[in-house]
Symmetry: C2
Subunit: 106 residues, 2 copies
């Protein structure tokens, strides 16, 4: 009865991208490793959700968490190879947004 079955891998990828904040976190990490507080303030996400997302992305092998025992402790989040492979998606979103969304009024 289900005429258009969706590929489960595609569906999974889409549900990843469809989670609020996930795309932006990945986008931010494309320009290099970032720490928790940097992500928090630069994208306006709440610490509660950021913490949740980073754990999730780490578990999925998309993000790597590294602890540097400096003072105060520095923890850096970066993209794994799997995570960096998401870049073409981001580039296409960027292209579309530039081609089809209105620029801001100055």
């Amino acid at each position: 009865m289900n005429q258009a079955l969706i590929c489960p891998r595609f569906e999974k990828a889409m549900s990843l991208m469809s989670q609020r904040w996930t795309g932006l976190v990945i986008y931010q990490l494309l320009s290099g490793p970032k720490r928790f507080c940097t992500l928090e303030t630069s994208m306006g996400i709440s610490g509660r959700v950021l913490s949740e997302r980073l754990k999730d992305l780490e578990q999925q092998g998309i993000v790597l968490r590294e602890v540097f025992p400096e003072t105060p402790v520095r923890i850096e989040y970066s993209l794994t190879e799997k995570g960096a492979a998401l870049e073409p998606i981001m580039k296409e979103i960027e292209k579309w947004s530039q081609g089809w969304l209105p620029a801001e009024i100055e």
Copy 2:
């Protein structure tokens, strides 16, 4: 204080893609116009949210709603040019999912 300002157009596009179901709705419409009940059953979205999403996408000029006064009434949703321009994003998501997500076990 905000070292990595995000382009507002990109942010808007990302927030569109980050809404639950929006990406899948667009993906389904890439293969041609679809009616409400088809979308509803093929992707397992609730009517309440599907209705909300379609209205939203219509307002943003991504989806076109057409009424065919047959019996019973047929209403078709399709992508506008702006909506169809999202295809490259979907293709990249598809590529990534095939390259990095495990295939199902048969």
